[in-house]
Symmetry: C2
Amino acid sequence: MVNAYANVNEQVRQVLEVFRNRDIRNVFFVACGGSSALMYPSKYLLDREAKGIVSDLYSSNEFIHRNPVTLGAHSLVVLCSHSGNTPETVEAAKFARSKGALAVSLTNVEQSPLAAESDYAIKYGWGDDAVAIDTNYGIMYQIVMGLLEVRENNLKFGPMMNSLAHLQQAYDKARQQFAEPAARFAEGYKDEKVIYTMASGANYGIAYSFAICILMEMQWIHSHAIHAGEYFHGPFEILDKNVPFIILLGLDETRPLEERALEFSKRYGEKLIVLDAKALDLTGIDPEVQGYIAPLVLNVVLRLHANKLADARNHPLTTRRYMWKVAY
Amino acid sequence: MVNAYANVNEQVRQVLEVFRNRDIRNVFFVACGGSSALMYPSKYLLDREAKGIVSDLYSSNEFIHRNPVTLGAHSLVVLCSHSGNTPETVEAAKFARSKGALAVSLTNVEQSPLAAESDYAIKYGWGDDAVAIDTNYGIMYQIVMGLLEVRENNLKFGPMMNSLAHLQQAYDKARQQFAEPAARFAEGYKDEKVIYTMASGANYGIAYSFAICILMEMQWIHSHAIHAGEYFHGPFEILDKNVPFIILLGLDETRPLEERALEFSKRYGEKLIVLDAKALDLTGIDPEVQGYIAPLVLNVVLRLHANKLADARNHPLTTRRYMWKVAY
């Protein structure tokens, strides 16, 4: 395990030491919007790996008002806010601690209200210079796999840490590989009024994030992240030749759901953008954790699509009607 | 408690006897589409009430493929399929039992594959002659509040059962009260291409159901159930004067989220349909459980809107492109 720990972020390492002496029985993933979406894969991972630790994921204000009975001294609450300034998430950290829970936050700004209200704050890397293992998704997996290593002796901590050390290289290759298809997507779909996204399992969060943060928020295009299993029980009736769908195929255990949704969509739809993790070069990513890593790389691919779409529509991703402009 | 038990459905009563001798530590709510949506309030109730029993809600195929580690002999899996014939849900019942879990199903058809694959099957009432307490939502609350009564001595079982006994009357009054507004809604919105729904807490499931089953499936109108707390972290940027939103206000602890979403939407939107549970006549519903009951009554109000919309659009709710017509 010495080798595995060598790659662990210094601040995460401190938190893992705290886990050693704490009887953590449940985890709450608490954040808003994109910061919440990036926690979905960690919920998937815990469901699949944790023998005794249970977990839930809630938008910050829902968490506070729902006030789950099981939130208490045996709880770990993982929070995230890029600016460290999201009022609901700052309040959620305070609330969690008032219940005796351990509040661990991820933020890009160490001197922030969220950091101040948390027991531990971990600064993640961001932007062009950041290395993947130290960005938000990388840190999340270090925390949750670290938790399972410390509390439940889960054997995938080593493979996960070694894989995260190769994540940057997978990102770089994906960016190269998908630059051209992303540009084609942008040209082909720049006039669409509605674009759906679809995924399941570990990938659902990135589909959700693309729908609400990229399409609805940053491009003012109607959207909805459809769960690939739910598709056949309602949403698929919206499909026709003119309705665009971005369909994700991951490498986790729910891939058959995504494949089925794609197969059906191909029969009756014509505007399908398929992003298949099988096409990615995942050299250095351990097969044991590829299902968990796939959404991280697909998310980079999605971001590339977002950038190109914004360019093609001449609608920068920073354009807002309300955020940063009016009170709410 | 004798009084409370007097109103319990006979088949539920048998299941509650089974709970007495079983150390149930977690509950999985497993179904697809509308049958899944009707379980959301029960997850909310367990989060708020259960001291030791934890719960998760998954679409049937996601549940099977995700294969949560904690699924086992201490699990209760509650499933639902109207026809008892939904392949993924039948498979999920089989899967749950193969793991040693107790599988309790709700269905309208007692001699169905789902009933055959479950430990216990409860037939719920349906249609114009059914009494509310014995319909799907009523049975769900009997099961989950019954579970908490039996396993954790939760004191709200009595108030819940007495309230469910008055549910039909609340439904009848709501139907009368909202007949006229529903017709106005239908006339005003029959040409819309997109209609969003929004809610939080106990109400989120009915917003989801209306979006995917009524609007997308039965009316081919684009939709997406936005969580009222998430609204401010992405989706609200889609709002302008021409984008219609159905906004639900319930009576549960998350109502402030819905009120905030409404207040903002009123400032920048003009096509808002507000369904506020405070306007309902809930005579006979105990204040202690009104937050749980509100979505059930609001759902009846939503159904009224669906019926009127279908009429105004001359697009019957039974119209399908794919379901019942092609293989998938």
